[in-house]
Symmetry: C2
Subunit: 569 residues, 2 copies
């Protein structure tokens, strides 16, 4: 029972308890300010941010497996929540909070369902380069969006263009105090990160990771104690402050809105899962353990369901937090449970103090977190390695900037998949002949082989599908037309063909008819058994050979038949 | 000069003039009612429909090549225009007409650009089954949308759900007269089609294709002459009547709207091109001529540009019309020029009579045209042949019904491409050994071969890319762990690998490091030259072997090296 509900329980040793507790404490000190910052990014209340982290980690501990994945609010999923809700509800309304929770619930259900259906392979819908372009583009949008808190102007928009235009329009009315505070915080955070990376990985290093929390406390007290509190906006001044924090208020949502939420939830689930899974894989490699994509789907699904139902919003395994969790010695999701308990104390205790947090400082935290994700160096590396991959990176990056994150994800998936299909659009086709004295067939270009004047033998080195059939057909047609002697037979040796999709099947059948009119008979040889079964099953009479092409067991059989007839002529 | 502007000119013979003129006349008699009906579908004026057909055919004749493709307004592109404009402008406003023209201009420019960049392969982004699902779904939406003219109620919506809901809400206020007229027309059209298909393909058969025009004339006169004109709405009663018909009035369009139009134009261009190109290919097969996808892109681009600039809207090569054109004997795009001239007479002459056309009759024409596109039988065929293709059909069909045509296209492209990637997610991996006395390596399962205790030799029969690398790595890792003897070397024979994408490259390099920690050295053998060049170029020092793996020219070289060392141990 414990093993199926807590899949990590079997491997849990008594000595892990201490390590998990320590890692939990360290992570919670990072997770508190992150939850607040990303709640701001998603336009939800700070309480929803905290609750998402608490419930998300407990949910993940129920079904997840990764020993050090730190689940909670993250930048990209929060920005996607904001993007999804902007056209559907008013910021700060009960509708907005309810829909944010509903997005998490829907994402969670989808992830759970995909995990149960073992659809873990969806992690492979996006290539590395497309993910890079997407994250860099989203990070640029997030950074641009933060300027509203630094300048205290109502910037809005979900694309780079609209954000910049809004910034330009409101620029003249900017205020200096929050700008200076934000800039100061950002510089302090960047400096702290550089210093911390120079430290040896001991206790002091781990402690240095809690600097953002410390900075937030100091700045809050400083602003509160001085006259600045009147000119620097705090969390209390936002629409999000004072919002309801209970279960999501799913006020009557009409069906079109529900479908749009469903679509956004699917995109959040996809991106969240890819982010989580790649982190879980990195952790797994360090622990020398393979990671089960389907278990991670279920874990992340449970986390989102818990976060949504308890009044939080969409959560994912965070990259930087998980690294800290790992370095702090986490051995199981129990570390996340400990972190939840610490955060529950914050939630129950001084959460009213949060109202004095200066927005400009939170915005600086977000910028410091997502800034390094804008990785143009990675683009240059990809571009140098492979133009098609590089173009994928660039197209996705530009797509996110011009169209927003949702358009960016869809464009990215399309670009990644299209690259694969295009690379296979022109497969290798070899004209083959019989190696004298054997039953083997080899490329006529590289071997001394026997050919026939009345028949053409070719081997296609790829599966036939909609993306390459036209090209193959044109190529073969040219081969036929360029022959000096009259042709009677075209033999396709299918030894490298594992599958023929429906588009190619229709094309092949149609082409066999045309060839027949040209006086050429089509032959298929060396059809692999599963493929033969599939082709025969689809023909009218499954017991007969394919009616539109002659079947041969081997290329040699066909060769023998034609050469016999050739001799007889 | 003539040859480059009119690419069909070189093949044009004097005896073709007569054939083209006759075909042009026949097609124009079909194109007039179709242009009016599809203009209604796109929410534009009847004059815009006629102009789109006139200018579209002239534009196609300039750069296109297909001898019988009949370019003009078609159902799917018209429905997509309606779908794209609904959220952006008010039906019947100058803004709407201007944007409809702008959509055609943008589509045209994109198609021209793609043609010049030789991107004709985009026709292969969609599989046959996904196109089938898309067209069937769009046809259902179009049929549902026509009920507003039959019932004379203001039904609206761009998904099946919203259309049905709207129908349900307005159902009680339906009117009987237009319903009966529409139903009568539909039955007459269907009966005529069945009768015509039984006719021998002679002059009477060709004439029978003009029945829709005849019916429209009869019904119009009938309604006009009787008391029915007061209860049956005509074209004059629509918002589209009396709209401006000059060049598009592109009133100040803000940037976000422009980007949305750009996105819609891209989808219209893609679907329009695929529809046109597949028809052009079918015609090409009958004429035994290969079709140049890039030339078709340029031809359709010129057609759309001409249609948009002259005050029309988006055009495409129509399926049924082209068949009639072909059967009527068309030999070049000159047939389209003749059809244009006939239509220009309609435009200049009795176009004011159009105002009396009953909407219910036009709606019946649209239903009769798109009804046969709802092809559930094709779905069953696809499903029976291949589950993945069948699922693609179904997902796209449902996507169009629930999300509208734009969502449907994007979903369709994704589904088609994802099917390909998934099929390649688990490539064939063979453990190989040396055939004694030779330098050949074969699968250990099927051949008596020599293996080494300290080394594992495998051949991967697929290109390495983001969609299969994880699976390959896990598979090989399991092979390594299941071995009884201690392993020192893992040799990947890359004889079947033409390419390694950036994701797989990163994965391979990272894995080499991990293997090294496990005490296993990674070797790459038989790297094809272009791939070797790519890999070396990306490493820091291109003259050295890849720093993370040992290179070998052939698998046999590696084998010799290890077996020597094994003997020495």
């Amino acid at each position: 029972m414990l093993n199926s509900l807590f899949p990590w329980w079997r491997d849990h040793r008594p000595e892990h308890w201490g390590a998990d507790a320590l890692a939990g404490l360290v992570v919670s000190l990072i997770l508190v300010p992150q939850s607040l910052a990303y709640a701001l990014l998603a336009g939800v209340t700070p309480q929803m941010g905290l609750m998402a982290a608490i419930a998300g980690q407990l949910g993940y501990a129920l079904l997840g497996r990764s020993p050090a994945l730190s689940v909670g609010p993250v930048a990209i999923a929060s920005a996607m929540t904001m993007d999804a809700l902007s056209p559907l509800a008013l910021p700060g309304s009960a509708q907005w909070y309810g829909m944010a929770g509903l997005l998490a619930v829907l994402s969670g259900l989808m992830l759970l369902l995909m995990g149960l259906l073992r659809l873990g392979f969806i992690a492979h819908l996006l290539s590395h380069s497309v993910i890079g372009g997407f994250i860099s583009g989203a990070a640029v949008l997030i950074v641009l969006g933060q300027f509203k808190y630094w300048l205290n102007v109502p910037i809005s928009g979900d694309t780079a263009y609209s954000l910049l235009q809004s910034l330009w329009n409101h620029g003249p009315s900017l205020q200096l105090a929050p700008l200076l505070l934000g800039l100061g915080c950002l510089l302090a955070l960047i400096a702290a990160r550089y210093l911390s990376s120079a430290l040896p990985q001991n206790g002091v290093y781990r402690l240095s990771k809690t600097f953002p929390l410390l900075l937030l406390c100091v700045v809050t007290v400083f602003v509160h104690q001085t006259e600045l509190s009147s000119v620097i906006p705090t969390l209390q001044s936002t629409l999000a402050w004072g919002g309801s924090t209970g279960l999501p208020h799913v006020a009557a949502i009409d069906t079109p809105t529900f479908f749009r939420l469903l679509q956004s939830a699917a995109l959040i689930a996809l991106i969240g899962f890819i982010e989580s899974y790649s982190m879980a894989k990195a952790i797994g490699q360090i622990h020398s353990k393979s990671v089960d994509a389907n278990a991670e789907l279920r874990g992340l699904g449970a986390a989102n369901l818990a976060a949504g139902l308890s009044g939080g919003f969409a959560v994912t395994g965070g990259l930087s937090r998980s690294v800290v969790n790992l370095e702090a010695g986490a051995r199981s999701p129990m570390a996340g449970v400990f972190a939840s308990l610490v955060m529950l104390l914050v939630w129950l205790g001084p959460s009213s103090l949060l109202s004095s947090l200066p927005l400009a400082a939170l915005a600086a935290m977000i910028m410091a977190a997502v800034g390094p994700l804008i990785n143009l160096h990675a683009f240059l590396q990809v571009w140098r390695y492979d133009r098609a991959d590089g173009l994928g990176w660039l197209l996705t990056f530009i797509g996110v900037l011009l169209g927003g994150v949702e358009v960016g994800v869809m464009l990215g998936v399309t670009v990644a998949l299209a690259t694969v299909v295009m690379r296979q659009g022109r497969p290798h086709i070899a004209e083959i002949g019989c190696v004298p004295g054997t039953e083997h067939f080899r490329n006529v270009l590289y071997h001394q082989v026997q050919t026939l004047s009345n028949a053409l033998f070719v081997r296609i080195d790829a599966n036939l599908f909609f993306g390459n059939w036209d090209w193959i057909q044109e190529n073969l047609q040219r081969k036929i037309q360029s022959r000096q002697t009259a042709m009677e037979h075209l033999v396709l040796s299918l030894s490298s063909v594992n599958d023929i999709d429906h588009s190619a099947y229709l094309g092949l059948r149609e082409w066999a008819r045309e060839l027949h009119q040209q006086g050429v008979q089509l032959h298929l040889a060396e059809i692999k058994n599963p493929l033969l079964h599939k082709l025969r099953q689809h023909e009218a009479n499954p017991d007969l050979p394919l009616s539109w092409a002659q079947e041969h067991l081997s290329t040699y059989q066909a060769f023998q038949g034609f050469s016999g007839r050739e001799n007889a002529d």
